[in-house]
Amino acid sequence: MFGKGKKLVIVLLSVMSLSLVLAACGGNKENNGNANNAATESASPTPAATETAAAPTEQKLTDGMGHEVTIPANPQRIIASYLEDYLVALGVKPVAQWSVANGIQEYLQGDLKDIPTIAYDLPYEAVTSFTPDLMILGANSTVDGGKYDQYAKIAPTFVLGDEVNNDWRKALLKIGEVLQKKDQAQKVLDDYNAKAADAKTKLQAAIPDQSVAAIWLVGNKFYVVSDKLSSGTVLYNDLGLKVPNVVKEISASGTGSWNEISLEKLADLDADHLILVNSDKATGSEALKDPIWQSIPAVKNGHVYEYDRTSSWLYYGPVASSQMIDNVLKDLVK
């Protein structure tokens, strides 16, 4: 008798705990809706009185992944993680900036000095704590696994999408459109193109027909930049520098912006000039003492220009590209 009673108690307790869980779920659905409405209500009417010539209005845009996004007229608290380069180019300050465990985008710190950081994976609560009124995200992968819906509850969220994100010119114009700074974005682009064309003529005069490669040393391994991606587009496309054969070969088989180059291939590296991004400086750059590295013609001739990992070479965008042009001019046009 007694035993049965106790057993019943246990079963009841378990059922109660389960129904508690269920109730929490069911009850939430409504609250869910409430929070949603409240969030969108509070998001729109914030912009402070502005006196821009053509007063911008709220706009509806479709982002790179097909979401229809209502962009506030004059967003004040923008989070555009890993897209800060574009914001800097357009003279906009975000409320938080991209960061990883071991660093931030040093090359932009002139403009982003006092801006707090946010982890690269944008945890929901961290994002919420900045009360953004607009989020701009780059690659599709940033909203993996149903994250988009959650971000959209915090603030209107615009994903550039992989196609736009992989080409900084497209990304710049798109962000210009989102922020209603189209003309400014176009001007940044025109200025850059003019600067690149000017640099190109100077380079052709200074080092005609000489090839350049960008090499990244990290974790004792060498990576070479692709001839069509990242800083490679600046070197070979914008500045018209000659692509070394080894770089062509590796880019054809590799898919990344930076592809690993074996020591054997390194020995064949036929570049006249090398831009070396050294992430191993803190650990002594042992790989640079290797005889194979020492035997590369460009190294023997002293045509190596070293940058550390905080330089703009590992990044991509109008500001980064412009800084790279400055670097190349300084190194190669004497």
Partner: protein
């Protein structure tokens, strides 16, 4: 005289069991409240209560109901699911070291996810539901394979075969996983490894609703079979002698264990240790009888994962440690202690 002694011991044991279950329930409730208070956005307990009652600000609503609550519920559910699945598998295989991983669920799910990521370079192209469904299929197929190989007509499932085949299939799948992971780029690999480490990255209500049916159907199902499990735990020959339809019951229970574990793994990634440790923990507290062992195991599992998830969110704020890792870090020493105690 002897009779009264036994019933006295019985009463004492039952009283103890009730106490254990109540303490665990209180523990879950406490962990629930603490977890509700844990996060980047500071909220006092009073704020939490206010918001729960519907008087919070919009931001507090969002944080509590859309970010924290679904995550807490998912943690409890997968803790329960994995733990019970582990308890059932330990009985079926009569092997104290059995857990959902042993019948290949984790490695099967992991391999399918990796293959998918490797062949469709971006995991994002997929709708949010696709990865969990794939993981579920991968886990299920692995378990089915192990099961088919281990099944002998007329003899039913041999527990030794089940364990050995499970190990073999798991290593086979892991080998394929490693092979493929050598060929994908670092970002893809990072995605897969975070997923495998049990980072509960899909934390919204849709995943709660996807997981809940499995738990709500399979936990009671297993519970109503507890007498059968007790008998099966005695070993197939004895169980047959006692009149159990061994093969049929084994299949049903195995299917339930696989269903529980693969749905949990599908939502959470592989949080490995829970299925192993929670039943042991519960067994020490309430004994072998599955009628009481199963509820205790479920609660222990739920509590363990909830605590681990809360700690994972709290220790390295604002970054997060994957839940699977925290479970292993707090689980492993306890498990060793348990082994040490048992031996002595």
């Amino acid at each position: 005289m002897k009779g009264t002694m036994i019933s006295l011991a019985e009463v004492r044991r039952k009283r103890r069991n009730t106490l254990v279950i109540s303490v665990m329930l209180i523990g879950i409730l406490a962990a629930f409240l603490i977890s509700m208070n844990t996060g980047v956005i500071r909220m006092s307990p009073l704020d939490v209560v206010k918001t729960l009652l519907g008087f919070g600000t919009a931001q507090q609503h969002l944080v509590l109901f859309d970010f924290r609550l679904p995550r807490i519920i998912i943690s409890i559910l997968i803790g329960m699911g994995l733990a019970v699945s582990g308890a059932v598998l330990q009985a079926l295989t009569r092997n104290a070291l059995a857990d959902p991983g042993i019948i290949g669920i984790n490695s099967g799910a992991g391999m399918v996810i990796l293959l998918y990521v490797a062949f469709y370079s971006s995991p994002t192209a997929a709708p949010a539901y696709l990865l969990p469904i794939l993981a579920w299929l991968g886990g299920g197929v692995a378990a089915l394979l192990v099961f088919i190989i281990s099944y002998r007509k007329h003899k039913g499932l041999s527990s030794n075969r089940l364990v050995l085949n499970g190990v073999a299939i798991s290593s086979g799948f892991s080998a394929v996983t490693i092979l493929v992971s050598l060929r994908i780029n670092p970002e893809q690999y990072q995605f897969v490894s975070t997923w495998l480490a049990g980072s509960i990255w899909s934390k919204d209500w849709s995943y709660v609703t996807a997981l809940l049916p499995f738990i709500v159907v399979l936990l009671p199902f297993v519970y109503f079979k507890s007498q059968t499990i007790n008998v099966l735990n005695l070993g197939a020959p004895l169980a047959t002698g006692l009149g159990a339809a061994v093969a049929k019951q084994q299949i049903w229970l195995l299917a339930a264990a696989v269903g529980l574990a693969s749905s949990c793994v599908a939502v959470s990634g592989s949080i490995g240790f829970v299925g192993l440790i929670a039943p042991h923990l519960a067994r020490r507290l309430v004994g072998q009888r599955y009628q009481i062992l199963l509820p205790a195991t479920a609660l222990a599992g739920g509590l363990l994962v909830l605590v681990a998830d809360t700690l994972g969110r709290w220790i390295l704020q604002p970054s997060e440690i994957p839940t699977g890792i925290v479970v292993a870090v707090i689980g492993a020493p306890y498990f060793l202690y348990l082994m040490f105690r048992t031996k002595g």
